[in-house]
């Protein structure tokens, strides 16, 4: 059985020729079934780039990335679009569609599934919003929700299509402490109960406790993996 995310020797560089700047160097990373992995590291270390590669938002350059069983190296755009449908994304900004209600925003993730009726989509969007504690706010547009509420709608949307993997990039960066905590706790609970693995990029030391494993990056390399299991912080250094 393959883990949801298996990266082997993934390298990536921006720019061409003279301007070519490597930002990922030979990254190896595995995210297991149901595991919650936090990715930390200084700004500019390549975390976001890594996440966009795993999320099939960006074409691979070298190395191998098997995500949800699909090899991304050399994958066509159409294959990547299909894979994205099986991944839930949570962005730093909520990126909800302003002209849709909370329920319609969540339903957008379900409209990619032709087997659902309009009714089923609406009901399921309602259930998910209830699960993130927004049962009373389903018909409000994002503009009438608080920052934390919007991010919770984004969580519901990311989970709506029953993804095999959740990717989140600094989901708490735009939130105050309390609502940030609330959102990640919610994320953890929902992911755990559904067995969805999460790869979450964060700078926020306050949320490290939700992780099963913390992976640190520096200058395009994974420098240290901290297992936050029962055994007290066990550090595994990897060769660059």
């Amino acid at each position: 059985m393959t883990a949801p995310v298996v990266l082997r020797g993934v390298s990536y560089a921006y720019g061409e020729g003279e301007l070519r700047r490597p930002v990922l160097r030979e990254v190896d990373l595995t995210v297991e079934e149901g595991e919650i992995v936090l990715l930390t590291g200084p700004s500019g270390s390549g975390k976001t780039t890594l996440l966009t590669l795993i999320g099939a938002l960006r074409a691979m350059q070298s190395g191998s990335a098997v995500v949800l069983g699909e090899e991304l190296a050399g994958a066509q755009e159409a294959a990547r679009v299909r894979l994205r449908r099986r991944i839930g994304f949570i962005f730093q900004a909520h990126n909800l569609l302003g002209f849709l209600t909370a329920r319609q925003n969540v339903a957008m993730a379900l409209e990619l599934d032709g087997s659902l009726s309009e009714r089923a989509r609406q009901d399921r969007a309602g259930e998910l919003l209830a699960a993130v504690g927004l049962a009373d706010h389903t018909e409000k547009p994002p503009a009438r929700l608080s920052g934390g509420q919007r991010q919770r709608v984004a969580v519901a949307r990311a989970l709506a299509a029953a993804p095999g993997l959740l990717l989140a990039d600094e989901p708490t960066a735009a939130l105050d402490k309390a609502s940030g905590q609330e959102v990640v706790q919610l994320l953890r609970e929902l992911a755990k109960s559904r067995g969805v693995p999460i790869l979450l990029v964060t700078h926020d030391p306050r949320i490290l406790d939700i992780a099963d494993r913390v992976v640190a990056m520096e200058d395009g390399k994974i420098v240290c993996t901290t297992d936050t299991g029962e055994t007290p912080a066990q550090v595994v250094m990897t060769k660059g």
């Binding site: 966009t52 938002l57 191998s64 994205r84 569609l97 849709l100 599934d113 559904r194």
Partner: protein, 439 residues
Amino acid sequence: MNHVTPLLPWAPELNGAAPAAAPARPAPAAGEAPAPRQAPPPVPPARRAPGFLAGTFLAIRLAWRQLRSEKARLASAVAGVMFACVLVFMQLGFRAALFDSATQLISAMRGDLFLMHPMTTASFRPEPLPRVRAHQALALPEVQAAVPIYLAQATWRNPADGSRRTIQLVGVDTEAGVLDFPGLAPLVDALKRADTVAFDARSRPEFGDVARLLAERGPFEAQVGNRMVQVVGLIEIGPSFGADGNLVLSETNFRRIVKERVVSAIDLVAIRLQPGAEIEATRARLAALLPADVIVLTQPELVAWERRYWEEATPIGFIFAFGSLMGLVVGMVIVYQILFSDIAGHLKEYATLKAMGYSNGYLRRVVLGAALILAGLGFVPGFVAATLLYDVVGAGTFLPLHMDAERALGVFAMIFAMCAAAGLLAMRKLRDASPADMF
């Protein structure tokens, strides 16, 4: 985690199934254990994307929700489409009206067949043909009657204010009953008297309110050329390009006004056939019988001949086609602007949709859907406004402006194409919505 056969493809409890089911691929770089060669695990049903129609419906609904959310922008887009729509309707309306009015005199002449000189370009500038051709036509048994028609222009003095204008004279043996105009029948006897004319009630008002004068005083004197004639009644023809008004009078009276005209030079011959005679067959026999200085035409052909002169030998057709095109271009620019700024203002949202797995094709359908919604929303009020304007402008200009289904459909197709073109142009902006830049 243990996965059972999914009952509901979207059940959240089953979402680990996909990676489990996919065959593992050996990583080329790292020498890790390759995929275990076990019996392949059951492949979960791939999530079925909505069919094309269902997907298009959802795309158009999304487009509508987006358009609806910004009322002011929607209103200006609809106003732009409506403007283009009215402009095109007016241009096409004027064009058709001018061509129709150009041929009004010819259209009002009722006859089975006509003889005309092939070099005649338009009725107001006829090339004369020998009067004897009318008699020659009678040689065919199918021809019941053939009457010469004289056409000329003369000046008419407005009986109310004395101003002078050019008016079209139609001289014909009205008694023969070959050439008919609406309203002519009761005047036939009166027109036999010397110096009498029938006045076209639909002539432009600059000729004077002849209808009112007739009603008040009965037949009255008016000056045509250098002669005083008596207006004995009204017929209906309508103004055309070549003539703002018309008078119908007998051959003899025509020659009294147009003295320089030789009797043997006529402008048209109207032919009435025996009841039951085949028009087409007779036409062929007439053409064979008569020399090459005449052509034989049916009435619709005569109208088409006249119309072709106005369409081809004058810039009128081009002017209105150009006007319509300008309307469409302006409308397209407005719609493009609106769609473009809609996309530019929602790049993040579009990129988010792409990150969620929406294809470019789907997003293009959203943009095209928005364009077509604007086409529909702009066309309906544009159609209503144009219909009202036709009545108002038609009454003011004496042009026969009428809305018809064919033109409405044609304009709808043009507006639709205009909006679609704007949508296709605006779509290029979608490329800027890059999901890779979302995080």
